[in-house]
């Protein structure tokens, strides 16, 4: 076995030297001008691998903050009567301590601020930047056989605009009026009028500013990803030989480029309404004891603009996870991904459809019910490509020889979550059922499972799988498995019961449930959810420990291709330097999923077709 590996390894080196493409890269790079000192190497780096790590670690920090917020508001929902005075040192005046009894309660305003921040942070900073930013940056050049991104400088800016967005959002939490508290969708008039909510003053200004910077980051990143994928593929890497990860990043970047600007235009009009007394979204409002002058605007216009991004956004979140899972499953199952082209076409059709379904978030918003007919049809059509993807993943496992390790297990977990959460989408996408389910906990359960947990599982699969490429060491297997089982069981235990809450009619974004008889029967369930949420959150720290411990102390990677994968990133040195390949660029001879073909466990993409061998993906 050891011999076999050495042979393959030598063979691979030979293939790159012999068949590789000499782009004279190293002749032009006089030394590594990008990495001449600590700052240019680790802080203002233009190397895509470093930027990927920056995105990942920043994303992880935000994930911890965002998840910790959810734990705090879950405490309020699960144990509304318990004193939270012990949180006062951390949260200060957001915990209101009753002078007579000493009982501390979470202030209502802060509860809504937490919910809002949790949503914003998770959707944008963790699942968009942390997921797509990390893996697009890491994998696009490595898997395509490129030296770096098309524009390393824009790439660096993309990270730093994201960082700036994060700083502004973080600062907004320290305002005396608190951060924005009107929900992550920021519907006006609540978000437009400081009289309507404390957080809609300076908090909302910073929120808008932060997200505009964030969109700049996404746009810079997206332009780069698309350009790199279209132009910097190595010789032989035609589109149909790209790994599914690359396809997913490409489609994600295109969706992001087309939809995020619309969000900014929506934000711009909102800023005008806030600062210049225009009336794009405001009409006939009496608030704070006075009738405002605004007439003729429509809050529904904002919802259209917001969801024109907002819906594609959920695919921006889930598509990279889908790509990662496809790649990881195939590699660890030692079997080609089933229906490669069907996978690509289903992602393309999901990407296209994501632009014409936005109003399914607005069935009950007061839009003309007739319009909803079209959105129902397009929304439910998305179930078809999604179903195809699920069936293909299951068929990939069928008759495989699956290696159990954290990446493959998280990939299986992803598919399970995607099935569970996807199916509840069929309820919500059908406007007639949405009449009752809209804005209830059923929706909370649905999107947390299908987009929150599933995407995070995809991210975990990716981190465990490509950690050896990022840091030259493995993450600990045992801790990873513990992390997987805890997260899988925890996630289902938290979100599954929420379906029942929703079916009982309990609306989301309620500070407490006992103000209504109808919603007050579930305190036991809410306690259960809160306890599991705390445990599951604690378990994620295991991942964090594992991550940072393994960076410095993990088991060292000793071979270039530890997973026996076919794709190009595993032909680089164990710790690839700037330019990724020390000599020639590899050239690609076949599609990326030749696992178990003709009795060989795997055939790398750089290996030429044997005589009489045919490409099988047709």
């Amino acid at each position: 076995m050891a011999n076999a590996i050495t042979t393959v390894k030598d063979n691979e080196d030979k293939l790159i030297t012999e068949l590789g493409f000499d782009d004279h890269f190293h002749e032009h790079e006089h030394g590594d001008k990008y990495a001449s000192n600590f700052f240019s190497k680790y802080i203002f780096s233009m190397d895509h691998k470093i930027i990927a790590r920056q995105f990942l670690i920043t994303g992880m920090i935000w994930a911890i903050i965002g998840a910790a917020m959810s734990v705090i508001f879950r405490l309020q929902l699960g144990f509304p009567e318990e004193s939270l005075a012990w949180l006062k040192p951390l949260l200060g005046r957001w915990i209101e301590v009753d002078a007579a009894t000493g009982v501390g309660t979470l202030s209502q305003e802060f509860y809504y601020a937490l919910v809002t921040m949790h949503g914003t942070i998770m959707v944008f900073f963790v699942l968009t930047a942390g997921l797509s930013g990390t893996f697009s940056n890491l994998l696009i050049p490595l898997q395509l056989g490129a030296r770096d991104m098309a524009s390393p400088f824009l790439n660096m800016l993309s990270y730093w605009f994201f960082f700036l967005a994060g700083v502004i959002m973080f600062l907004s939490m320290f305002l005396s009026t608190g951060p924005f508290a009107g929900g992550w969708t920021a519907y006006p008039p609540l978000s437009a009028l400081p009289q309507a909510s404390d957080g809609s003053g300076a908090g909302m200004t910073l929120w808008l500013l932060s997200l505009v910077f964030f969109v700049v980051s996404v746009a810079l990143g997206g332009v780069n990803y698309v350009t790199t994928v279209l132009n910097l593929r190595t010789k032989g890497m035609n589109m149909w030989r790209m790994p599914l990860t690359i396809w997913s990043f490409l489609i994600t970047a295109i969706i992001a480029l087309l939809s995020f600007p619309v969000l900014v235009s929506g934000f711009l009009l909102l800023m005008f309404d806030r600062a210049m007394d225009t009336s794009f979204y405001l009409s006939e409002i009496f608030i704070g004891g006075q009738a405002l002058d605004h007439v003729g605007g429509s809050p529904i216009l904002y919802q259209h603009l917001f969801w024109f991004l907002g819906h594609p956004e959920v695919y921006i979140v889930i598509l990279p996870a889908m790509g990662i899972v496809s790649e990881v499953l195939s590699t660890h199952c030692r079997k080609p991904i089933f229906g490669y082209k069907a996978m690509v076409f289903s992602m393309l059709s999901i990407g296209f459809l994501s632009f014409i379904v936005w109003a399914h978030h607005m069935f009950m918003a007061g839009v003309n019910p007739f319009i909803s007919n079209f959105f129902v049809i397009f929304t439910l059509i998305i179930a078809v490509p999604s179903a195809v993807k699920v069936f293909n993943w299951i068929s990939t496992i069928y008759k495989s020889n699956m290696r159990y390790n954290p990446p493959s297990m998280f990939a299986v977990g992803f598919v399970s979550m995607f099935i569970s959460g996807g199916l509840t989408g069929i309820f919500l996408g059908n406007s007639s059922i949405d009449i009752q389910m809209h804005d209830t906990y059923f929706v909370v359960a649905h999107f947390h499972i299908v987009m929150g947990v599933a995407a995070i599982f995809g991210m975990f699969a990716g981190v465990y799988h490509w950690f050896p490429k990022m840091f030259g060491r493995f993450m600990n297997d045992t801790l990873g498995k513990l992390h997987f089982w805890g997260s899988l069981i925890g996630a289902y235990a938290i979100f599954w019961p929420m379906h029942y809450l929703g079916m009982a009619g309990v609306p989301r974004r309620y500070y407490r449930f006992d103000s209504f008889d109808t919603f007050s029967h579930f305190s036991e369930m809410n306690q259960f959810i809160t306890i599991v949420a705390i445990l599951t959150f604690g378990l994620q720290l295991l991942f964090v420990i594992n991550f940072f411990y393994s960076i410095w102390k993990g088991k060292k990677v000793t071979t270039k291709n530890p997973w026996g994968a076919t794709t190009l990133e595993w032909t680089t040195p164990i710790r690839p330097g700037h330019g990724n390949w020390p000599g020639n660029l590899p050239t690609v001879q076949r599609w990326p999923y030749d696992y178990g073909k003709n009795g060989r466990e795997f055939v790398p993409q750089i290996e030429p077709m044997a005589e009489g061998e045919s490409e099988d993906e047709e």
């Binding site: 009496f286 429509s298 179930a383 029942y500 009619g505």
Partner: protein
Amino acid sequence: MSTGLIIIGCLILITVVAVQIGRVTELAAKIRGEEEIQFESNKRGGFLMLLFLIGFLFYCFYSAFKYKNWMLGYGPHTAASAHGTELDSMFNLTLVITGIVFLICQILLFYFAYKYRGRKGATAAFIPHDNKLEVIWTAVPAVVMCFLVIRGLVAWNDVMADIAPDEDYLEIEATGSQFLWYLRYPGPDEKLGARNFKLISGKNPLGQDWTDDKNLDDFQPDELVLPVNKKVRVRINSRDVLHSFFLPHFRVKMDAVPGMPTYFVFTPTVTTEEYRQRLKGYPEYQQPTDPKDPQSEPLWKTFNYELACAELCGTGHFSMRKLVKIVTEEEYQTWLKGQQSYYLSSIRGTEDDPRPPVPVETDSTAGKSAQDTLTSTKDTLTEVKILTK
């Protein structure tokens, strides 16, 4: 301070334990050979997958059964409105279809993961695609979706349709504001009067235009009281930010948008009393209403329909409750008699009243038309007379 230290201490301890567990297994792998360990891990993982599948499915069925009688649409909670039944059956149809897909997919996923765990000497099959299979599993979901779309849209267009021209109905108005609902009934003339948001004040919370005669008999009750089996069109409005008019038991929900009135048409079919009788038969509703006081009335006896807000509207969003009562026609008429026009009770004769204090018998056009409107009910007329004298 000490708690903080203990927490930090615990975290450090956990870290150390975690790292040690990790190192032990890595050392074991070194001693016994990576491959051997991998196969063992595959076997263990495979069994755990199977175990998880069984536990998960058991949990799904158990919990669904446990909460069944609390969920709207099940047990005692069949819809209390005419259109609700249709929506409930739509939900159940989708539940059956997605339930089947859910079971098949989850079982196959975890079973395959178990069955095809890597084993010594085994190899994976090379199956890159199968066009026939793929066509089938694209077509089948497509057909099923068509079916759901068609049924769903028929129900949707049916439910969302406005009142037909010749239909008999009662029109009321609900206005969301931070953080309570205002209700307005049209009074004997069965017409809601004009409003203008500029006229809103402490004494005129809805900005009713008192020069509009239709406003004179409108009243603002504290509770939403409706006669059973009568079609109701709720005009939904907002004074400030977005709200959503949500009647969970009637499957009614519609956003309240400032500057753009929306509506929802529904027919309540079960009176509050009938609903209580339904609940009576279920053990869940025999519990005392106040869990701390076992002597308090059982839940079914204190049951009430409720109106809630379902669109985040600020810090008090969770507290926008109004009581809803569905009563028989006779009870409704009795209740109506007890309601007094907001104009007569709070505006008439005060400085906010733009109408001249005209005796009812005058010839002025405004007064006359007001009189015409008001003569429709004798009681109100008498009241006007008394007031104007």
